[in-house]
């Protein structure tokens, strides 16, 4: 509690400093963050149900869903508005997947209260029919805007966007997946049609911001953080070419970012990109503060002040 109050103070100071435009005191009060959202996120958990074995390896003892579940439960107990999401590659990497094809992974995520996921390339590994079958254990949607699953077992089992309300906040989610060709065997991808993730993400982000009046647009992405090949689409490129996305929660490249990275979108507004390695070694946490909009002016660029959360 103390920690949250401190966060609100810090955030309001920062916002106040930004918006010193000789406004009336009353208006200044309206500019302070009036609401908060804690996003918790994972990516590329790769069937890591148990912690890494105690075999002297670099990651020994780390991760494991039972420990992660407890961390999530504790954060939910002390924080009002929490959103828990995953950026794909739930499947493949431990014998659990070989034996159960993702059933314990999806059941555990449902029990932990995941609220949305996108699809990674390895989620095709036991076939699309299997992925669709395992979703019977899910109580959260698969959000992906650039895979067309018409005439596949996944038809009607994903959605291009999803809206979640947290208190007074309206959160819009979309999702994008990586090019399948060369990565996912043709016989596993089946009739799935991949399309340009930037076009798809921008289309639904605009819908979420402009038509649905969402306060925050989150894009779950399995594109990968960034690549040496300059024109290979990545979260970095998506962020710069995006218009209405506020946050990109990434995966695929197993990137351990020291801190979320801030990019400027097409209109000069801040886009936050984050990714937390793989295997559930880390749980990402971002506590967002919001300011109330005086009038609807979504095209105007805005900044997001970013800082490391002070320890509990």
């Amino acid at each position: 509690m103390l920690n949250r109050r401190k966060f609100l103070q810090t955030a309001s100071l920062a916002t106040g400093a930004l918006l010193t435009q000789g406004v009336l005191g009353q208006e200044r009060e309206e500019d302070t963050p009036v609401n908060q959202l804690t996003i918790l996120h994972t990516n590329d958990v790769h069937s890591r149900i148990d912690p890494f074995p105690m075999d002297g390896g670099r990651n020994q003892g780390l991760g494991g869903v039972a420990a992660r579940a407890e961390v999530i439960r504790n954060i939910r107990a002390s924080t009002e508005q929490v959103l828990l999401v995953d950026a794909g590659d739930i499947f493949q990497g431990t014998p659990y997947f070989n034996f159960y094809k993702g059933e314990p992974e999806i059941k555990a995520m449902a029990a932990m209260g995941y609220e949305a996921v996108t699809m990674g390339n390895h989620d095709f590994d036991a076939g699309l029919e299997n992925f669709a079958t395992q979703l019977q254990h899910a109580n959260f949607p698969v959000v992906i805007a650039n895979y067309d699953f018409t005439n596949t077992p996944m038809e009607g089992k994903s959605r291009p966007y999803h809206i979640i309300r947290k208190g007074r906040l309206k959160i819009g989610l979309t999702g994008v997946g990586i090019e399948l060709k060369g990565l996912v065997p043709d016989n596993l991808a089946g009739n799935t049609i991949y399309s340009d993730p930037i076009l798809a993400a921008n289309r639904w982000a605009a819908h979420l911001k402009q038509k649905e009046d969402c306060d925050l647009v989150v894009c779950l992405s399995h594109l990968g953080y960034r690549y040496k090949e300059a024109n290979k689409v990545s979260d970095e490129i998506l962020a710069r070419e995006s218009a209405h996305i506020d946050v990109i929660i990434g995966g695929h490249t197993h990137t351990f970012l020291d801190a979320p990275v801030v990019y400027k979108n097409k209109f000069g507004s801040d886009v936050i990109v984050n990714q937390v390695g793989w295997a559930g070694i880390l749980l990402g946490r971002m506590d967002f503060g919001f300011q109330r909009n005086k009038k609807k002016n979504l095209e105007a660029s805005h900044r997001v002040i970013i800082g490391k959360k002070t320890s509990e």
Binding site: T10, A11, A14, P33, N35, I49, P51, Q60, G61, L62, G63, G64, A66, A67, R68, A69, E70, V71, P95, Y96, F99, Y100, P104, K107, A108, A111, M112, H122, D125, R168, L169, K170, P185, L188, D213, D215, P260, I272, V276, G280, L282, L283, G284, R285, D287, F288, G289, F290, Q291, K295, K296, H302, R303, V304, I305, I306, G307, K308, K309, T310
Partner: protein, 252 residues
């Protein structure tokens, strides 16, 4: 007429109210504080999750102890040739032929990808096979010209000799010489279908000569290919074995 316009006014008023209400709930993210929570060995665990997962854990652990076959004798990983090398390359070739056809000429396993130095004689468990091959690499097939196959074998020779099946050669001055494919001298202008892991076919372990060659795969992991091979030997009532056959040797 008058009724119509008053209704319109009422609707317009409602719309105005709705849009005012809409504006009133509009927020913009202004600050973010981040944290990365490390899930450590000492972290408390959720009892609910542990009990949800226990049946799966118990079963996976007992499955890992499932015996897939009996090893006739100890298999050893060694350069330029070892019994474990030959066993795994034989498994690659047999499964590649089963999946892709009898015309697969040769199969390879990268030495560094074999994660155990030896396998003891006796029962071989699934867990042991995971230990040898923890990676989720795919078995892929590429069609190489004899010239490119020679180039690839030169790299294998330079690295000291990997597990191979379907080919034989001598390592001389870090090159593959006296190369036989299916018992016949390598023909630089012929075309050979060969099996590798996607890791190697994608240029891993300095095999960049393979990067631009189209690959086909059937979604079969290298580890699963090993398991299928061992299971098929056991199903035929035999023990698992491989011999040293001078597949790869150093020049005298």
């Amino acid at each position: 007429m008058s009724m119509f316009s008053s209704a319109s006014i009422r609707i317009a008023g409602l719309l105005a109210l709705v849009s005012v209400a809409g504006c009133a709930v509009s927020y913009t993210p202004s600050a973010v504080q981040y944290d990365t929570v490390r899930i450590t060995a000492k972290a408390p665990r959720s009892q609910d999750l542990e009990s949800l997962l226990k049946p799966y854990s118990d079963s996976v652990n007992s499955n890992m102890n499932t015996v897939v076959g009996i090893l006739e004798r100890e298999m050893e990983k060694k350069m330029p040739e070892g019994t474990l090398n030959n066993l795994l390359a034989d498994a690659m070739l047999a499964e590649a032929r089963k999946e892709f056809g009898a015309d697969i000429a040769a199969a390879f396993v990268n030495y560094g990808g074999v994660r155990a130095a030896q396998l003891p004689a006796g029962p071989l468990t699934i867990g042991k096979v995971y230990e040898i091959m923890p990676f989720d690499n795919l078995l892929v097939v590429q069609e190489l010209t004899g010239k490119l196959l020679q180039e690839f074998l030169n790299r294998v020779a330079e690295k000291g000799g990997w597990p191979v099946a379907g080919v034989q050669f001598t390592i001389k001055d870090k090159k593959a010489v006296e190369v036989l494919v299916g018992g016949k001298p390598l023909d630089p202008s012929a075309s050979y279908r060969v099996a590798n892991s996607d890791y190697i076919a994608n240029g891993g372990d300095d095999c960049n000569m393979l990067v631009n060659i189209p690959q086909t795969n059937k979604g079969v992991l290298v580890r699963d290919a090993f398991l299928h091979y061992f299971q098929s030997i056991t199903a035929a009532g035999k023990k698992i074995n491989a011999q040293l056959e001078n597949r790869v040797r150093y020049a005298q």
